[in-house]
Symmetry: C2
Subunit: 230 residues, 2 copies
């Protein structure tokens, strides 16, 4: 019974790692589709999101089944409950990557942005991809130095987000309305993606250290529409 239980917990961890890999691939492809105006790649991200959703359902059912049959306590219980939370977060990250891909697809053969703002959005896409890869690596290794790096990288991503606002507010940058809408939402999607990476990093830290103080949902964003708010 216990052996099966351990095996199932391991399977749960593997499924979460697989989800995080799919999410990292999705955001990487979405960012590339956006940068290169690559329609086929954007379509791929949109189609492949269903795999992530499917895995979320699998993980959730697995967690509920584990709770019902194995009635875990203490650390094992935390692993299962945290697994439920993480699958929801990863599914949402997949959605955000899909949203980015939608914009790339919608503007094809043009790019959604151009010039300096495009460069900034590309940087945001790369930063989000790096963070997602760190999440995969953290979930595989449980090396908490990677959790710390995710927090630092998120500060960088937030900084880029603020720079996008600064550029957009500068009227010297000629932007039509559709470009403005796209840029603001793309920056928001990528910034939220980063927040979710931080949430995963904190939950993983909590599983490793048992210290809840840094793992609960902290305010990750201040004034979302005011780039000067911090």
């Amino acid at each position: 019974m216990r052996a099966i239980f351990r095996q199932e917990l391991e399977q749960l961890g593997d499924n979460l790692i697989e989800m995080s890999q799919l999410v990292a691939t999705a955001v990487q492809k979405a960012a590339k589709a956006l940068a290169d105006s690559d329609l086929a790649l954007a379509e791929q991200v949109i189609d492949e999101d269903e795999q992530i959703n499917e895995l979320e359902r699998t993980v959730d059912e697995m967690c509920v089944s584990l709770l019902a049959r194995q009635q875990p306590v203490a650390t094992d219980l935390r692993v299962v409950v945290t697994g439920l939370m993480m699958s929801t977060t990863l599914e949402r990250m997949g959605d955000l990557a899909r949203h980015v891909a939608y914009v790339a697809r919608g503007r094809y053969p043009r790019t959604a942005a151009s010039g300096d703002v495009q460069k900034l959005l590309n940087k945001m896409g790369k930063a989000a991809t790096e963070m997602a890869k760190l999440v995969v690596s953290l979930m595989e290794s449980r090396d908490l130095s990677e959790a710390a790096r995710i927090e630092t990288d998120d500060d960088h991503l937030d900084q880029l987000h603020r720079e996008v606002f600064t550029r957009v507010l500068n009227k010297d940058n000629e932007l039509d309305r559709q470009e403005l809408i796209d840029i603001i939402l793309l920056a928001r999607f990528l910034e939220r993606f980063g927040d979710h990476c931080v949430s995963l990093a904190r939950r993983t830290s909590f599983l490793v250290t048992g210290d809840l103080s840094n793992s609960v949902s902290l305010p990750l964003e201040e004034d979302a529409t005011d780039p000067h708010a911090g």
Copy 2:
């Protein structure tokens, strides 16, 4: 033991209802603060969000404690797991109301938008408030006709969201960059708020009917930056 368990499950339900009430109040006040450029009201929403976050922590701890001590199965297990999911959703809705309040505060003594677009945003704020009140009522009564109304109301909210984009894309509407940013993000916050109401309605339906088919996370948004996408 069972009597205590039932009592605790009831307490869990009461806490979730209380969270939903706080969230409904938050979005109502935030929408009013935005419409009337009411700084004090905006500040209230921002301050009071901590109560919602606090209740989320309480609910989560309660759920984990229930799982550990009572080891529920079948329906009771679903109630507890769903409670965990719902508290996360409600907490996020509180954040979205807070974001709306941030914009109201940031633009005071001006309003964030004016003219027709302001009217549309006010309609969105009212629609979101109505939906949040229906969520409270649904969670209290378990009357599934209210779940159906939430779905219908969300279609209306999405329609208003698309109208905002249409107006913003029309260059005849004079809007400066800050207004554009505010409008796009406010519309997005309120539209997401509605999605979360639908998610809560589906989870509640699932608890009542046991039918999962309509309760899992369905794609609630299509192309988030293209108002013509559906």
